[in-house]
């Protein structure tokens, strides 16, 4: 692929190319999105991306609710990283209003945030295995993932939407009598990590299907403002936890993980995305262990009464930024508060996929239609299902391809190259 000739818009179709819309309901995303691929034979020569089918106007709604109601709304922006948005939002509001967060609350926020990374990365790895046709690996990975979901349920009461952060602290404690459950889960993962690395990274078939597929160069990752594992797979050492520490991350040496930590040169391909995510699971386990061992004692909220908290927020004015390194990359929230009103005057949310949208284009270009599911999945770990794919040729003939057919194409390719 020639990176210099990237076409960010669908160009004119030559006589031999096909225009192939994929989505809006899509094979490798939890949210609907529409790709329109221009194909020369099996090869992708152009792609146009249209998101927005699940735009719910959350910021608009949030600006018409009081801040605590908006916090619960922020938790529902994403079902997988359901603590990442509240973590960024609470920090933005706390920075704007000058509210302190007690040390114990900072550590508890970090523990839940890292547990979320563990389950999100494992979910993604399972989805990737499924897209390639390795369903045994999917079942193994998702079975392993359950342990982190169980622990989250034990600690917060919920498998998703944990409702832990609140302005000025956290809503629930991690009591000493539950700590053994966390240590047990961490030991479980430590024992399994090498097995997962062997299953994914030392498997010839996985390597053949993912190496040099969906590649993103270092320069493009920087220029297109990519974030998270997508950028780090290309060797960009960018991680909010390292670059601009916050919460408990300021107390430990968190390092941005790139394929170099696995001893290989970064290619920015799907294989490198697997490396980064698996190594980050190990990193998260170490962070949680550090937090449990050094968990400070003390209060959970600096303003424990909700009416007093609301009154403080109503009096506050100013603007603040809150950032968090979510499993998929940087989440940033901008908030402006005005004295006398309970609602945020401005609330802007930026999720990692928003930043990685542009990076999808060079990742797709030059690859084959059978690689679409795994490249699409390489950025975002959630799998919903694809409704259909319409294939339209240049004289207007239209055929419909079902999700199963695209997955079949992907699996046939695996069989073909594995002989």
């Amino acid at each position: 692929m020639n990176n210099d000739s990237i076409n960010l818009k669908v160009g004119q179709c030559a006589a031999t190319t096909y225009s192939v819309p994929v989505g809006p309901v899509h094979p490798a995303l939890k949210e609907p999105i529409r790709f329109t691929f221009n194909l020369d034979g099996e090869r992708i020569v152009g792609v146009d991306i249209k998101p927005g089918f699940a735009h719910r106007g959350i910021e608009y709604m949030g600006m018409r609710r009081n801040l605590i109601q908006a916090l619960y709304l922020s938790e529902r922006i994403c079902g997988i990283c359901s603590i990442s948005h509240p973590l960024a939002f609470t920090q933005a509001v706390e920075n704007a209003a000058g509210i302190e967060v007690p040390p114990r609350a900072q550590y508890i926020r970090t523990i839940i945030g890292e547990l979320e990374r563990v389950h999100s990365h494992l979910l993604w790895a399972g989805v990737g295995a499924h897209e390639l046709g390795f369903d045994t690996l999917l079942h193994l990975t998702w079975n392993v993932r359950e342990k982190s979901m169980d622990l989250l349920e034990e600690l917060t009461g919920n498998r998703v939407d944990y409702a832990i952060p609140i302005f000025s602290g956290v809503r629930r404690d991690v009591p000493a009598e539950k700590a053994h459950l966390a240590y047990e889960a961490l030991d479980y993962y430590k024992g399994l990590l090498q097995q997962m690395i062997d299953a994914f990274l030392h498997d010839k078939s996985v390597e053949m299907r993912t190496r040099n597929v969906g590649a993103l160069s270092y320069d493009l990752a920087v220029d297109l403002c990519a974030v998270g594992p997508t950028a780090r797979a290309s060797g960009v050492k960018k991680d909010v936890r390292q670059d601009m520490p916050y919460l408990a991350y300021a107390d430990m040496e968190v390092k941005a993980i790139t394929p170099e930590d696995f001893g290989t040169e970064p290619h920015g391909d799907v294989y490198d995305n697997i490396i980064v995510r698996l190594l980050e699971v190990k990193q998260s386990i170490e962070i949680i262990e550090f937090c449990l061992e050094n968990l400070p004692s003390g209060e959970l909220m600096s303003i424990p009464k909700v009416p007093a908290l609301l009154a403080t927020l109503k009096k506050a004015s100013g603007e603040g930024l809150g950032r968090h390194e979510a499993p998929r990359g940087e989440v940033i929230h901008y908030v402006r508060l005005e004295e006398g009103i309970e609602e945020p005057a401005v609330w802007k949310v930026k999720a990692p996929t928003y930043s990685n949208l542009m990076a999808w284009v060079p990742k797709f270009l030059g690859d084959e239609i059978a690689d679409v599911p795994i490249i699409a999945a390489s950025i975002d770990p959630c799998m919903c299902c694809m409704d259909r794919v319409h294939m339209v040729d240049t004289v207007g003939n239209e055929t419909t391809r079902m999700k199963e057919e695209l997955v079949r194409l992907s699996r046939e390719k695996t069989r073909r190259i594995c002989g």
């Binding site: 403002c225 974030v227 670059d243 300021a250 603040g320 930024l321 930043s355 542009m358």
Partner: protein, 175 residues
């Protein structure tokens, strides 16, 4: 990263177009404390592109997002950059703010300097009705392709409500 040096370099580069700056300094950490900085500068729209060009020539910036703020007579745009990533405590947020009067909602694109800005610029076009001059692709991104409403404009709330009602009816939900 020396905060004062950054401000001075921008002041020198932009002259009278450099309107104001401020720094928010925060202490983080429980066991080992450190300091992080949020930097904000406001520039005149005429020199906005120069300000971003200066940022790109001095650093390797990352654009997190562009936020907008309808202030009545003006729309403020905050370009939330981060610079200095790659090392521990190396990064600061750097927000460049500029005001656009409602009578002339135009701003030059920065995609020529940072291609990744396109997503956020397209969002501002549709949600605020801003004309981003020179953007390679100005189609609606998140709103329906044929939508002409600008939902984050406070003076256009009536039109937005009308259009949303029409869409709900069109979808047959009758709510």
């Amino acid at each position: 990263m020396n905060v004062e040096n950054i401000f001075t370099s921008f002041k020198n580069a932009l002259g009278v177009s450099y309107l104001e700056d401020r720094t928010i300094e925060r202490t983080v950490g429980v066991i080992h404390s450190g300091t992080v900085y949020d930097l904000w500068i406001t520039v005149d729209r005429a020199s906005f592109h120069d300000a971003v060009a200066h940022l790109c020539s001095e650093y390797v910036p990352h654009l997190s997002v562009i936020s907008g703020d309808d202030l009545g007579d003006n729309v403020a745009l905050n370009y939330h950059f981060t610079v200095g990533w790659g090392e521990r405590y190396g990064e600061v947020t750097f927000t460049i703010r500029t005001l656009l009067p409602k009578s002339d909602l135009t701003i030059p694109t920065i995609t020529d300097l940072l291609a990744g800005a396109q997503t956020s610029e397209r969002e501002k076009i549709e949600f605020y009705g801003i004309d981003v001059v020179g953007i390679p692709d100005s189609r609606n991104l998140f709103l329906p392709e044929d939508a002409t409403i600008h939902p984050w404009r406070k003076d256009l709330e009536e039109e937005t409500a009308k259009e949303v009602k029409r869409m709900v009816k069109w979808e047959g939900r009758n709510e």
